[in-house]
Symmetry: C2
Subunit: 386 residues, 2 copies
Amino acid sequence: MHIADRMDAIQPFHVMALLARARALESAGRSIVHMEIGEPDFITPQPVIDAGLAALAAGITHYTPATGLPQLRERIAGFYQSRYGVSVAAERIVITPGASAALQLIMAMLVNPGERVLMADPGYPCNRNFVYLLNGEPVGIPVDAGSAYQPTARQVEQYWDDATVALLVASPSNPTGTVLDTETLRGYHAVTSRHAGALVVDEIYHGLTYEHQAETALSIADDVTVVNSFSKYFGMTGWRLGWLVVRDEFVAGIDKLAQNLFLAAPTVAQHAALAAFGDENIAILEARRAAFRERRDLLLPALRDLGFDIPVTPDGAFYLYAGCSRFTDDSYRFSMDLLEQAGVAITPGLDFGHYRPEAHVRFAYTTSLENLEEGINRLAAFVNRI
Amino acid sequence: MHIADRMDAIQPFHVMALLARARALESAGRSIVHMEIGEPDFITPQPVIDAGLAALAAGITHYTPATGLPQLRERIAGFYQSRYGVSVAAERIVITPGASAALQLIMAMLVNPGERVLMADPGYPCNRNFVYLLNGEPVGIPVDAGSAYQPTARQVEQYWDDATVALLVASPSNPTGTVLDTETLRGYHAVTSRHAGALVVDEIYHGLTYEHQAETALSIADDVTVVNSFSKYFGMTGWRLGWLVVRDEFVAGIDKLAQNLFLAAPTVAQHAALAAFGDENIAILEARRAAFRERRDLLLPALRDLGFDIPVTPDGAFYLYAGCSRFTDDSYRFSMDLLEQAGVAITPGLDFGHYRPEAHVRFAYTTSLENLEEGINRLAAFVNRI
């Protein structure tokens, strides 16, 4: 039985075992507070659902072009103009089946076997695996509070070698929630340009920022690649819809890859997303953003009070990445014990990389204030017993 | 500007240039008969649309598990039992975002860089490119009418070498419409088993057969991989939903890959597909199958009368793969001239492989009898002028 070597490199999400245990406990009647889930608890806003219903009722069920509905590409270009004041030609925007597909497309375009992609450690677990898929080598740059859990341009320069072809960063970051400022992005771009490499910026948590609006990396240069999604800010996870913005010279190649790998993104999702940028929908999304901020502002001081180490205030996404060294030197064990003994599910650091995962856990505030309060109470009782 | 080497190997669909020209002609007011489109002209049957509407109206918009809705996996297992009399455990069935994702998952599981996958030439163009994505080497086995455009087990044995890891076949085949019988499948399985390789059978056109029902390759052994789709027989192209059936030992690996590469298939599509196996829906699909057969039975003799060479009666899918040597030694030129001069769009052989593409064209009967009659008349006038 022959299996490809990459199957050893690609790891399942470790949180899955914890999730399975949480479900088993719930089936047995236990109450579990979920602070491990990387998906908004809100369902898709009604204006988008209504647009999806209308498309289905009209029998719009055939394929779209591989690069997506032209009017949706235009709508996204308009959003870059109105929200960020940045002009992006619709032709550079490719609609994808989720940001997952967007990440895969750009990595397939860039990475030969043996070539390296730099990324933050901790970071989004799938990023490594998109590189392993292509037999490339993901290289984690260890990041900590000193640089707000983002690589510095100096680190990028240090880690860049002849086999390196790209830097992949995320703003806001999963799991740390920190946002890149324009100066840092410009620093990255200077390094990648010097080496004729690519700068790829994951902006899938854009919109979910609580201090000030993040700037898109598209504002700094035309050759930056940006990945975005309708899943998080727009609340459309299950629709599987994202997009990719690439330089002009990449469009034909990305189109050709998308034709072959995916054919097209789901049609009803694309028609539904046409309603995502309307005033009524944006008002709903902004109310949700306020709700997420309220949750963060409850959870963050409570965790700090309990003794979790969160030295940088996360200003985006819906995650808090917390040092747990006061309680444990094994965050996986800690998370499993917390689940078993206190009925609180969180994500151990292990899924996010190799840099001190045993000393960190991730809390997601994708549940109600009431649930968060209950979770905090359970957590307090649990750590006070340690 | 660094680009991965695979981008040279992966070709866009050549028919896209022809399609773009067809659209330009239509925009200028010309009537075009479309016999190039690999998608049923029917919209999704109403019972499935209704199930999708109900799911959306109920606000079911979150992610499903990476392997798909458990009840849909059960439903598909039930379909294998009722339609084919084959027991397949639901756990071996993984729901995917289209058959494209299913093909990608199994190739990623099997193929290291430099390793080879055997496939029929002519065949589905993306198959080569799933292998190129992984820096593997797709090896086309030239097939012709003598073996009903399918490889013989003897050929598979001849082409197998130390670097070969899998045989990928399709039944019914695109572009040739021919179906594999059980004996041939058993012959393949004997060869792949002897070499500890994998047999992967694309059954996405299953259900669309006109002589007798095709048997699933799952009936011959538990270690065969089968790719299937809701797109063709079930008429759900734009929903992007397919499935993969693998041996028990592969399930955990496929799950891990699916988590990382796709997260999950579209949620509304999965809920809609739950209605795909109901009696009312199957009755609609069977009526459509009868319509496809009627179209084939109009088009096939008409093309033969005009002088196209179709030595094997295609008994499935909705394609006729026709030799055009009586008219041309350049099927691409022939197709472009046919479009320009007669307003009929067909697909030149070029997209399907390297074995005599210049001598073949593909006709799709994904349009009404009236359109096919008009197309035949235009085609007759065109070839009579040659």
